[in-house]
């Protein structure tokens, strides 16, 4: 359903879709993930990618950062990584004197556009704590002053295969991610064939370097993101629906949600937080805008529901052990049982 939108927003939408097409030149079989990361860009939220080893998480994030342009910093999560390693590093310079340089977080100052934290769950909780502040406040204290990163967007990934010598992200840190995406390998056989036999995909550096860079002026994303939030309208009906969805994560039985073999009254320990509710709406509005709509409809919420909500729901210990099954069933029931209008 096409609707007239403000001409500036229409122009930005065209650029956003151009961005999406450019990323897809290098990333195949991940259309939904690319769209969701594009939504995260314009919703100005951070994203966490999870998936098996070698499914393309890092390549996808590198492609996003490259096409977006701007300054980019990257750090690898390791067990001995400490917060200071993100802020500065010390070394003996060419004159034989000790020297201190800004770390990856501070190196680009306010122009840092993308901070990519690879294997985030291998870092210690101290590092998570610093990351938590950076994501929430886009600032950090170092060298006796505050550093601000107004355009910063954090992308992190973790593989779900290895759990040894890893540190699960605390709930507070996970709640600060706008989205948590599950990346899987392409199911289509022809795409698997391309990844296996098309030599273009063998050299990731060349593949990404071949993409255009700076397709979106990252420094303007904050403004355009705010404009999108103002422009996309919501009616009382859709607001009521969104509130019901979030309420259902806290009290699913009240909405007739039932999962076989589960005591629904004892399933949920904590549902969607107010921050999560706001992030859901921010992402949904961007989804509507990308679809060319000026008004939010339930399908826009559905488009981002799983990725913005699921990681904010925490189950009681007995059910947390079966989290993957529980969260899948609960998210499906949310859409099926909560009515709109």
């Amino acid at each position: 359903m096409q609707m007239p939108v403000d001409s500036a927003l229409a122009d930005w939408r065209a650029r956003a879709l151009d961005f999406e097409r450019e990323v897809k030149r290098a990333i195949i079989g991940q259309d939904r993930s690319v769209r969701l990361l594009l939504i995260a860009l314009f919703a100005r939220g951070h994203a966490l990618l999870e998936g098996d080893v070698g499914v393309g998480k890092t390549t996808l994030l590198r492609a996003i950062a490259h096409v977006l342009g701007g300054n980019f910093a990257r750090v690898e999560g390791t067990i001995d990584l400490m917060p200071n390693d993100l802020v500065y590093h010390t070394y003996i310079n060419e004159h034989g004197r000790p020297a201190v340089d800004p770390g990856p977080l501070l190196k680009h100052g306010e122009t840092l556009a993308t901070f990519f934290f690879n294997e985030v769950n291998r870092a210690r909780p101290q590092v998570h704590s610093l990351l938590l502040r950076v994501m929430a406040e886009r600032s950090v204290t170092a060298f006796n002053r505050e550093y601000y990163f107004p355009h910063l967007q954090v992308f992190a990934d973790r593989n779900r295969v290895e759990k040894e010598e890893t540190f699960e992200l605390p709930a507070a840190a996970r709640d600060r991610f706008l989205m948590e995406l599950n990346i899987t390998m392409p199911a289509e056989r022809e795409l698997q064939h391309a990844l296996m036999f098309d030599t273009r995909f063998f050299n990731v550096d060349a593949l990404i370097d071949d993409l255009r860079s700076g397709v979106l002026p990252y420094a303007e994303l904050n403004d355009i993101g705010a404009a999108i939030q103002r422009h996309i309208t919501t009616t009382a009906t859709v607001e009521h629906y969104a509130l019901d969805l979030c309420a259902a994560t806290r009290a699913p039985a009240d909405f007739g949600i039932a999962i076989s073999g589960v005591d629904m009254g004892k399933l949920v320990l904590s549902g969607v937080s107010p921050r999560g509710m706001g992030m859901l709406m921010r992402a949904a509005k961007v989804a509507a805008w990308l679809e060319g709509r000026a008004a939010l409809v339930p399908e826009d919420i559905h488009a981002v529901l799983n990725e913005t909500i699921a990681h904010r729901i925490f189950f009681t210990p007995v059910y947390e052990l079966r989290r993957a099954d529980m969260v899948t069933a609960l998210m499906q029931q949310l859409v099926d049982k909560v009515a709109a209008p």
Partner: protein, 291 residues
Amino acid sequence: MAALALATSLAAAAADERIITRLDIEQPRSFGYHIGDRFSRDIKLELRAPYVLDTKALPAAGRFSEFLTLDTPRITSSARDGATSYDIRFDYQVVNVGLEAASIAVPHHDLQYSNGQEVLKALIPDTRITVTPLRAKDDATLAANTAPAPRVFDATALWACATSLVLSVLGLVFMHGRLPSWRRARPFMLAFDEVRAAQRRGWRDEDYTAALRAVHRAFNATAGRTVFADALTEFFHEHPAYAGLHAPLTEFFARSRGFFFAPGVVHDERYSASELAALVKRCCDVERGLT
């Protein structure tokens, strides 16, 4: 009836042997009688002249005892050498039998004879016979009655007709949703009621809202989940009976979306009450399997 010969020569108490030169009584056999059976008692009597048998004094035909009837006695007689011989036959029929086998009495008779002045009697003594009822004992095993059943009243056919009639009536009631509980099982029929109620209330904004919500509830109840505009294809796939309404139902979801989510922005032309009622009525017909 086979008779057991029992010849008995008895001297009647009142008879004189010089008068009765012969009295032979053949009593019936004493067993094997059922209701309706007939048997006889034969008497041969010979009287010297001038004594003759008074036939008018013989017992009359009719009910003879609780169990027996007696026919009119048959008498033949012949005279020879100063004596008269009589062959008398008493024919009986068993007309009553109890529920169990029983020995019953065949009562005595008096044969009255005279010479015109003196009246004498010869006694035919009573005897007993055993009668049994025509019934099986309670613990007997009866063979199946293979006789054709009387066709005066065929209960099975009557029940079949009555059942068919009741089911037909119930089917009609169900199809038309005349019972509240069945109406609840017909989501579109309930929605139709609510649309009509909204129409009666005046079709104001709140009435129109309630009517559209009622139709959405019908879709949700039919599908077993919330049906959204972008999931209509799936709905038609799961409920192909509604495929004939593809265009109007798609139109409904478009108008509803405009009304609820983007008023004044997208296609939000309102239905008139009659338009919406007609659409829901078509859904009702599909729901009832009429189309």
